[in-house]
Symmetry: C2
Subunit: 212 residues, 2 copies
């Protein structure tokens, strides 16, 4: 499995020479390093094995740092997913704005949505949801995050398909089909099923979106 | 969460008076009781908490019974899913054969497929896949089961939609959309999102399947 690294995008964890950083700045840097490390651990080791001490080690921080900045392991992981979604959402909105009109715009727009679901974020999130299925407390603490992610996805969809923005049923079908194909990555990893089924499903969805 | 119980369908675990049962019969009864208990534990407690001693307790058997009949915990859980899929598949084929022609047959056929994916089996399987994502050994041992379940689903689809049996792309889209909606049960439990989105997605899929 390819491990996604955000480290290239994160602020450097080592302090810069000058000007002298304030307490607030240092705290923000530590927080960002913890969020990146938590996401990497979630993707690489799964939720069950993403302990706060492992996250601290990955971030090169003291064992106490995660719980100093986040009250619980779940809060840390949920914040990491939200942080990634924020950044990724902003990137994608930028891509949409620069996307040229013309041939296969519908197909390329679908690919963008697909990419969002096929991210390591999605795979890590499946882990978290599975754990939450039999853990009501975790479930309750994830509900606001899930609503937020669903809302972001709808915003992106409407940016990509403004002419179809009011066709709720079509949007549901498109997003559910993409979610279903993405899950194949988890269910049948390494079989090529995801790429193959995306090709065929994409063609049918383009037809539906471009009709009338 | 509603817990699915197979106990009503299982052979009675208490021995019958006469005729005296053979060793082979007793062993088959024990095996069936273990498979039912394993499935119940998977659905109720999740894969991580489905220990062999918990399964033994649920089945009312000795702690050693699970590993006497199945080599590992994973083998037991995989066999339980396969056992359930066998029984459910047979039931569904019976329902398909008795299904009358006529109005909304396409919609009712889609509902049958949807029901298959919205089963406790699917929810338990999501758990197992999520665990397998970061556990190559578990992943390898689940691959044959996953192929088997995928094959069974295709067989059922072709029984339900014989006129569309050769349209692979349409079949992929239908199954992926259903898989995507089912996942909402895990992602947003208790929100009614699954039922609502199934209603709208179903209508569009009926249109696609009934076209030409």
């Amino acid at each position: 499995m390819q491990v996604y690294s955000l480290s290239a995008m994160a602020e450097p964890a080592t302090p810069t020479a000058q000007p002298r950083r304030t307490q607030v700045q240092r705290s923000a840097t530590t927080r960002a390093a913890l969020l990146d490390a938590a996401l990497e651990c979630l993707v690489e080791f799964g939720y069950a094995n993403t302990t706060t001490s492992r996250v601290a080690e990955r971030a090169g921080l003291s064992r106490g740092a995660p719980l100093h900045h986040f009250q619980t392991r779940t809060a840390l992981v949920a914040a990491a997913i939200e942080h990634y979604a924020d950044r990724r959402g902003e990137e994608l909105r930028g891509i949409v704005e620069r996307m040229p009109e013309g041939r296969d715009r519908t197909g390329r727009s679908l690919d963008l949505l697909f990419e969002l679901f096929c991210s390591p974020l999605f795979q890590g999130a499946v882990d978290l949801w599975a754990a939450a299925r039999t853990d009501p407390e975790l479930q309750a603490s994830l509900a606001p995050l899930e609503r937020r992610l669903a809302r972001d996805t709808v915003v992106l969809y409407r940016l990509l398909f403004p002419a179809q923005a009011d066709r709720q049923a079509l949007m549901d079908l498109v997003l559910n089909a993409i979610r279903g194909v993405s899950l194949l990555d988890v269910v049948m990893p390494g079989t090529g099923a995801t790429a193959k089924q995306w090709r065929t499903s994409r063609a049918l969805l383009v037809g539906l979106l471009d009709a009338e």
